[in-house]
């Protein structure tokens, strides 16, 4: 028996006889398993709604609810959970029926100790293989999903196609897209598919540093080059040798730095701050911005020559609202991740919750969806995510609440209509009224779409 697995196996013993429960639990605990008990079928079902179990020992004959009925419930709702039926002499027919309905095995009490040990060992091994299989499939799926880029929408398929093409050439790429659309993930995907994939991927967020710190971060410095520089430090340009250099939020780079970078990119060499040694450049440049750089050039915030140096290939990363069909896939992807990280037994997202997610505007794009899913998973009380778990998305911020019920209703309906871009069917669904009622309310409050 692999003791590494034992601590993680959760077992539930379901039997109406106290001495059987105590006896089996005692043996299982001595073998190191985490064990719980239920005195009947109904209690077992309650406990299953609160926690996941890997293995259930289930008595076939119980007064409140028969073992077969409980087995059917388990197989319908928790197909991964293994079940061993506990039978007594004379219940063999029921045991065979149970096997047909998906039970993993049955044992007649009293059990032969060797039989029990071998059975549990076998099931633990099965679980290990299933778990490994799931991990492998997730790993494969992740790779197929372009390293965490998830999407089936047409614009995403076009993006994946483009990534495949541009990754094979070394030309600089400019990624344009709103905040939170996954520009860094796109950059990583391009790097992963390129010939430089075995080299480093070095990112730097230009908006996160002051000008002097940014210079040091980019170019590195020699010791003594400024107050506090006690040791020499390699800059990120140097660290990116042989790989990909990702300049995020390129629109935030000060003009002076743009000149320095432009010179470096054209001459393909640079010095560390305070240094004299020339360091050759060898990386592929990818930059990203949420700004409209053409407008920034017009405002003299961005150099045109630098822009042309960065923008040999331009890729638009679409906002989430332009790929609503991906919301449910993304939500499931994040649910899987956060469920694993928090170890909470959340099995899915209810339809009404999905409808809300699909209707919401997502100004913060995929990052906002990710944060919303994390929050919902952490705070969820049930086994699936409901609409209430995402109610925080609908709350207005900074608005003064009116006193009257009529005014509140008008504001709320108006907000939901805007959220659904005046799609009456969607809005009616979210508001949980029929279309006629909604039309009446729109007329009553004189609501109109704003262009």
């Amino acid at each position: 028996m692999n003791t590494d697995m034992i601590g993680r196996i959760k077992i539930l013993v379901v039997d109406d006889e106290l001495i059987v429960r105590e006896s089996l639990i005692g043996w299982l605990k001595k073998t190191g398993y985490e064990v719980s008990a239920a005195e009947g079928g109904r209690r077992a079902i309650e406990m299953l709604s609160e926690k996941d179990y890997d293995l259930i020992f289930l008595d076939i004959k119980m007064p409140d609810m028969g073992g077969i009925e409980v087995l059917d419930h388990i197989k319908a709702n928790f197909p991964q959970t293994m079940v061993v039926m506990i039978t007594a002499y004379g219940s063999v027919e029921n045991s065979v029926e149970a096997m047909k309905r998906g039970a993993n095995d049955y044992l007649m009490k009293p059990f032969d100790p060797e039989q029990l040990t071998l059975l549990v060992e076998k099931l633990v091994q099965q679980k290990k293989i299933i778990d490994e299989n799931i991990l492998l499939r997730e790993h494969v799926a992740t790779r197929v999903k372009y390293e965490d880029l998830v999407g089936a929408a047409r614009c995403m398929r076009q993006l994946f196609d483009l990534i495949g093409k541009v990754s094979k050439v070394d030309s600089p790429i400019l990624l344009r897209g709103e905040t939170g659309t996954g520009k860094e993930l796109v950059a990583k995907a391009i790097h992963a598919k390129s010939d430089r994939c075995y080299g480093p991927f070095i990112p730097i967020n230009c908006g996160a540093f002051t000008e002097s710190l940014l210079e040091s971060e980019l170019f590195g410095h020699e010791s003594g080059s400024f107050t506090g520089a006690t040791k020499a430090k390699r800059g990120r340009l140097e660290m990116a040798q042989g790989g990909t250099f990702f300049l995020d939020e390129i629109g935030e780079i000060p003009l002076k730095m743009q000149v320095d970078l432009l010179r470096v990119l054209e001459e393909k060499k640079f010095h560390r701050v305070g240094g004299t040694k020339e360091i050759p450049l060898d990386f592929r440049l990818i930059s990203a911005t949420h700004r409209d750089l053409v407008k920034e050039i017009e405002r003299s915030h961005f150099r045109q020559d630098f822009y042309f140096r960065l923008n040999v290939i331009e890729i638009e990363v679409p906002p989430l609202r332009k790929r609503r069909e991906d919301i449910s896939i993304l939500a499931q992807h994040f649910l899987d991740r956060f469920r694993r990280e928090t170890n909470k037994p959340i099995t899915g997202i209810e339809q009404k919750a999905l409808e809300l997610l699909e209707a919401y505007e997502w100004p913060g794009n995929v990052r906002e969806l990710e944060n919303a899913m994390e929050r919902a998973v952490v705070l969820a009380r049930g086994r699936s995510l409901t609409r209430d778990d995402f109610a925080f998305l609908l709350r207005s911020s900074g608005q003064v609440m009116p006193q009257s019920l009529k005014e509140m209703e008008k504001i709320h309906i108006n907000r939901i209509l805007k959220l659904c871009q005046w799609n009456i069917s969607k809005a009616a669904k979210l508001l949980e009224v029929n279309r006629t009622t909604l039309h009446n309310k729109i007329d009553k409050y004189g609501l109109r779409p704003s262009n």
Binding site: N2, S23, G26, K30, P110, D112, P113, E114
Partner: protein, 182 residues
Amino acid sequence: MGLISLGPMGEVAVHVVAANIQTILEVPVDLLGSIEVPAHSFQPQRQQYDAGLILKHLVRLPFPNHARIIALTSVDLCIPILTHVFGEAELGGRVAVVSDFRLRHNDDGTFAPLDRYYERLAKVALHEVGHTLSVYHCSDSKCVMRFSAKVRHLDEAGLYFCERCEFMVRESLKSVRTAVDD
């Protein structure tokens, strides 16, 4: 630690168990005499004695100066879910019971030599004492804490704890000694 016989039990067997526990665990073992096997623990439909009921009986015995009580018996033991057990103890509990009923014969029914029988008895006793010190079953086939469903498994196991179980035993004994001193 105290050692008590439940019903008639060979004196040599009792001394062998006491000596092994003293040597391997480095704890003093007092011989506490003999008492009857509790009649209510007999299961007529199984013709065996319920080890769980025996433990409940042992817990009520007046031996306040002994942190652990090990009972030796010659009757066949069972627990409700298993056909038989060689011994029984609650994890971290104060009492344990060990039976030699199934240790005198090999799995094929042949008679085991005396030294083999004593060795098996000592191993089961150490195993159950290990449980009273909160040590789980071990996957190391040579460790005395491995679960032995058959006597051949007992014969494969050593008379000693593996490193991990030894560590757990020592840590538990420290706590037991501290509790006794308090």
